[in-house]
Amino acid sequence: MPASYLFELRFCRWSGTILGNIISVMPERRMKQKIVNSLDAAIADIPDGARIMFGGFGGAGFPNNLIQALSRKGVKNITAISNNCGTREGELGVMFKNGQVKHVICSFPGPHANYFQERFAKGEVTCELVPQGILCERMRTAATGLLGFYTTVGVGTDVAIGKEERVLEGKRCILELPIHADYALIKAQKADELGNLTYRLAARNFNPIMAQAAKFTIVEVEEIVPVGSMSPEDVVTPAIFVHRIMQAKGMRFAG
């Protein structure tokens, strides 16, 4: 029996027809399993002490609804990896307000991160400042299974303290190590039922990197669309990086 015939049998079960070179099949079994129906369910299994990446930059692309749910759940001793530390009680702010974060890895806490700064002043939160692009690369390094990289960024600055330094290509550089996380909480515009994601404008920012880098990625989206309605070329985050999907109307804290 030729190979193509066997394939056809398999796809016929899903009433497959060929649309251009996209075969229309409906693998019902898997595609609904990533979708949950409440914000609380979306984050229910995140334990105290988890390392969590949070997407968003400049008021855009923050998973505000998931953050609010995480705050309600009351998890403690979180290590947060995020570009900033919230704007007042918005974005990550509520997590600092409630004393849920013990350590943060970020590039720029931000001028309105007052709850973070209060906890930081009291020594209740520790903070590792990372140059923004290096924050991206250290997360991507975890995502891609590499173990570290050398960069000129931060050489001779506070960032280099305690880091290995050497010369490559005649340039002083320091060794930067991957940033791993148990979870990523991200925001996307659309998900299909398998978890393929697209983002809106500059709300993309850190979200695709964090989706790749964390062991388990939870996304809140504005819209869930049927499988097959997204062009394969337009997918920004392939479904392999997405583990749980929650449709949530956009709560926004523009700060």
Partner: protein, 228 residues
């Protein structure tokens, strides 16, 4: 010595297909692994990854249907299933190396008792050789299965104490499916899980250089009813 029948390449693929689980993201290498897609249990939905930047490959394109901008890693025109995505080669290998693929299946020249794999170059062969994506795939997949014949054409064992062929990766193989056996690589060594129909554990051991651990009863492989 005339031997009993061994599994065909297609039957090796058929047995290896049973190692895939529902919803798995899977990369199939050149050779026998590439035949696995033809033998998926019907109850499974599996998402095939190709290292040139495809997730969600469907069946091969039929004559007249070929699009030469949509080929798999073997240059064969393929199709996409709904929910497929396209990305560049660095992201494709972010998936292989970063531990995002559930299962990868590669061909092999030799597997050692520690799970070292040699699959890219035969010693003394002429020409440059070629690595391709095998080393990235071997390094990062959650589960690596090797499909190969149990012995070379000359009868030499390919399940060896230590590879003497150029290596692809160290301690990377989880399971070996051959025309004689299914073998798991464990911290204790190679564990014989199944034998080919009609073959005893002793007969399989006799055709292996590495020691095979036999725990209790070793069943014979079951091939699916739509066997070739």
């Amino acid at each position: 010595m005339t031997e009993k029948p061994r599994l065909t390449r297609e039957q090796i693929a058929q047995r290896a297909a049973q190692e895939l689980h529902d919803g798995a993201y899977v990369n199939l290498g050149w050779g026998i692994p590439n035949l696995i897609a033809d033998y998926l249990p019907k109850a499974l939905t599996v998402y095939f990854h190709s290292e040139n930047g495809i997730l969600g490959m469907g069946r091969r394109a039929k004559p007249g249907e070929e699009d030469f901008d949509l080929v798999d890693a073997m240059k064969v025109p393929v199709t996409l299933i709904p929910g497929a995505s396209i990305f560049h080669q660095a992201d494709a290998h972010l998936m292989t190396r970063g531990g995002h693929l559930d299962i990868a299946v590669l061909g092999g020249f030799q597997v050692s008792e520690k799970g070292d794999l040699a699959n890219w170059k035969i010693p003394g062969s002429k020409g440059s050789g070629g690595i391709g994506g095998a080393m990235d795939i071997a390094s990062g997949s959650k589960k690596l299965i090797v499909c190969m014949e149990h012995n070379t054409k000359e009868g030499a064992p390919k399940i060896v104490k230590a590879c003497n062929y150029p290596l692809t990766g160290l301690e990377c193989v989880d399971t070996i499916v051959t025309d004689l056996a299914v073998i798991d690589v464990t911290p204790e060594g190679l564990v014989l899980r199944e034998t080919a129909p009609g073959w005893s554990p002793d007969e399989v051991q006799a055709r292996s250089e590495a020691k095979l651990i036999v725990r209790n009863h070793v069943p014979e492989m079951k091939l699916a009813p739509n066997s070739h």
